[in-house]
């Protein structure tokens, strides 16, 4: 057993998990508080990446790119909420799915129109382009940055939700929406803030991943499926659940890709194992979801009560 490799793979899993958390946190809040299914949440991920790529290429500063793009995605999120989502909260989930699916097509086409099909890269400053050495463990610096940034956002969100007045309202909204309204809270404003923060976190995830892969049309549409799995595994409306669910799924996915073929080779010929392993590791997160739902139908950490 190569322990260094295991540690590296766990760090890789942690990094994937934190990216998923950034997406899932907004999704679970919007789903939990507004009871709104937002399939187009992945579009914020894509827009974040494109904004950041454009501004970074224009100004030459990654930090400036991230800051301006965050504001940009916040505005786009607030606009989507005020112009579209707000009118749909009372409708049933099928309407949400139809409208947000349409919204995905609009966003994808708009990005295709403005930026083209090529995709965009974000050049990293030399300081982030190297590796971090800890004995025999070598990790690309930038992946370390993702882990730290993800943990910082998670910590910030924890403080926001648990230690502030706004967070109290968010928690109240997640467990009993009707009661919050009855107490005279301006629910429209709360919804808009939650939606915009969720969008900004998704956009931030897109900005973080773009220097590794690139900004491309439809990049959010695949990862959003996994983010939904995270939300369901963690418990709808629970930020804590989204955090642990995301880490669990990030680790399962990465470790599956790392060790499943060796594991399968114990019981089947090598060429079958090589083909079966990627298929099976792609399925593992769904198998995990099914298993968790069988024992805890409301997820790992459901909010206290839900009307």
């Amino acid at each position: 057993m190569n322990w260094d490799l295991l540690i590296i793979q766990c760090l890789n899993g942690l990094q994937l998990g934190l990216l998923l958390f950034l997406l899932a946190a907004g999704l679970t809040l919007i789903f939990g508080i507004m009871d709104f299914i937002n399939l187009s949440h992945g579009s914020f991920y894509m827009i974040g990446a494109y904004f950041c790529a454009s501004i970074t290429n224009l100004t030459g500063s990654l930090i400036l790119g991230v800051v301006i793009s965050l504001i940009g995605v916040l505005i786009v999120g607030a606009l989507v909420e005020a112009l579209l989502a707000r009118r749909l909260y009372r409708n049933d989930h099928l309407d949400h799915v139809l409208v947000t699916l349409g919204l995905i097509l609009c966003f994808d086409t708009a990005v295709h129109f403005f930026w083209g099909a090529e995709g965009m890269t974000i050049p990293l400053p030399p300081a982030l382009d190297g590796q971090v050495n800890m004995g025999d463990i070598v990790i690309p610096t930038y992946r370390f940055v993702i882990i730290i940034a993800g943990l910082l956002v998670a910590g910030g969100l924890y403080l926001l939700v648990n230690k502030t007045h706004l967070g109290m309202l968010i928690r109240a909204g997640a467990s009993n929406r009707v009661m919050v309204t009855a107490l005279g809270i301006n629910i429209d404003r709360l919804y808009m803030i939650v939606f915009a923060i969720g969008a900004a976190m998704a956009g931030f995830a897109g900005m973080l991943i773009a220097p590794i892969t690139e900004a491309s049309v439809g990049m959010g549409n695949e990862i959003i499926i996994i983010a939904f799995v995270v939300v369901i595994v963690g418990g709808i409306g629970s930020v804590k659940g989204a955090f642990y669910g995301a880490l669990l799924i990030g680790l399962i996915d990465t470790l599956g890709r790392s060790y499943l073929d060796d594991f399968l080779k114990l019981s089947m010929p090598a060429n079958y194992a090589e083909t079966a392993a990627p298929a099976l590791s792609a399925m593992m997160v769904y198998i995990l979801m099914a298993a968790i739902l069988a024992f805890r139908p409301r997820g790992l950490f459901p909010p206290a009560t839900k009307s």
Partner: protein, 402 residues
């Protein structure tokens, strides 16, 4: 969404009538050569399709928009990177548009799904990229031609390069689909050393683009070289992560169809200097000195302001091959025997120079070792280092009964 949309009876009748009408008039009076071109124009892989489309339009320009005096009509269709869509579009091309040739096809799985639609309708099917082993072997067909290569050939050339460079152990990474498996089989066919490890990663519309786990495994395997096949945008993503992981020195990279003129400008934009000097094998290169290639590369650079990719080169050749067939038949595209025997001669100025067709209608051609370099204007491109395989035929030709 509870009720499924029922097929509209009027629509079906209308289609049937339209088809009948086309059948009646198509043979009686054909004033143009109709070519269907199936490629990927949406999804991030759309950038490949765009390059091919550009090359096709350039070829039409170079032909003066005429083949044997007839107008050229091209129908571009988008397969959306999905086999089922590719098949639908092929059906549409042969039934509704009644094209004479169906060409294009980036992806092996899309081509395999679409082949029957085109061939059963009695059309010529010409692959401008995909070269799945089945089509070279058991499923070969008299009306199928390739202007690219069989999937195994390019990695076979790379296997020879690895032997020449005395690489003892190799880690292999490729996407988990028909071509990925052919590429791996190809390098294993000629590489004499040990395969230290192998990863087949998820592919398709939701392809895996984060290779952190695989790169960590490759490094831990202690292999002397890393062989990868990642076409399209996955190639750029892979190269970035390879350099970010700091493997440029310790784990030399050998690629096929990964570092191309689509990925290079973006890698250059992201300052990925690790890619300079990396080696790959291919049947063609922008600097290959043949009359057809000089005309193609300079024409493409003039018209579009960038280097053509190998996809573009093959797409250009597919139109030129069709032209040689149509001219050989004196413009009578309905005389399929005449078109076929003319195309079998490969008698045109191919971008790769003179080549011949084997019994399975895959080219018998040279494969070169190429290196990524900076050109005189500071653009990153590929340059031929040496010829690895001369007049090479794919290993499946013997299984073809033609």
């Amino acid at each position: 969404m509870k009720t499924k949309p029922k097929p509209k009876p009027m629509g079906t009748i209308g289609t049937a009538l339209a088809c009948a009408g086309l059948l009646l008039c198509s043979n009686a009076y054909t004033d143009s050569v109709k070519i269907g071109f199936v490629t990927t124009l949406t999804t991030p892989a759309g950038v490949i399709g765009k390059d091919m489309q550009d090359a096709v339009n350039l070829a039409v320009d170079h032909l003066g928009a005429k083949m044997a005096g007839k107008d050229i009509e091209i129908f571009f269709e988008d397969d959306g990177f999905k086999p089922e869509i590719g098949k639908q579009k092929t059906d549409k091309l042969v039934k509704q548009d009644d094209v004479d040739f169906v060409t294009g096809f980036i992806w092996s799985h899309v081509l395999l799904a679409s082949r029957k639609s085109a061939l059963d309708a009695g059309k010529f099917l010409i692959s401008a990229n995909a070269g799945p082993s089945k089509l070279a072997g058991k499923l070969c067909h008299e009306n199928f031609f390739s202007t690219s290569w069989q999937n195994d050939q390019t990695p076979m050339a790379m296997g020879e390069v690895l032997n020449q460079q005395n690489v003892k152990s190799l880690y292999v990474m490729a996407p988990n689909y028909a071509a990925g498996k052919n590429m791996v089989a190809g390098v294993e066919r000629t590489f004499k050393g040990e395969i230290a490890g192998k990863d087949l990663t998820k592919w398709g519309k939701d392809a895996q683009l984060d290779f952190s786990a695989e790169l960590a495994k490759a490094k831990a395997s202690g292999a002397e070289g890393l062989f990868v096949f990642y076409p399209g945008k996955a190639g750029g993503a892979f190269m970035k992560q390879y350099q970010q992981a700091g493997l440029v020195e310790s784990l030399p990279l050998y690629t096929v169809f990964t570092v191309d003129s689509i990925a290079l400008p973006k890698l250059q934009g992201a300052n990925m200097e690790g890619v300079l000097g990396s080696r790959n094998t291919m049947f063609w290169s922008p600097d290959l000195d043949t009359p057809g290639n000089r005309k193609f590369v300079s024409g493409f650079r003039e018209k579009y302001g960038k280097y053509p990719s190998f996809y573009a080169a093959q797409a250009y050749d597919s139109i030129m091959l069709i032209n040689s067939g149509v001219e050989g038949a004196g413009g009578n595209v309905d005389d399929m025997d005449a078109v076929r025997s003319a195309m079998k001669q490969a008698n045109f100025d191919s971008v790769r120079g003179k080549y011949t067709y084997g019994n399975n209608h895959f080219p018998i051609q040279n494969f070169y070792l190429r290196e990524v370099v900076e050109d005189a204007d500071g653009n990153w491109t590929s340059k031929i280092v040496s010829t690895v395989l001369e007049n090479h035929q794919d290993p499946y030709a013997a299984e073809c009964k033609l």
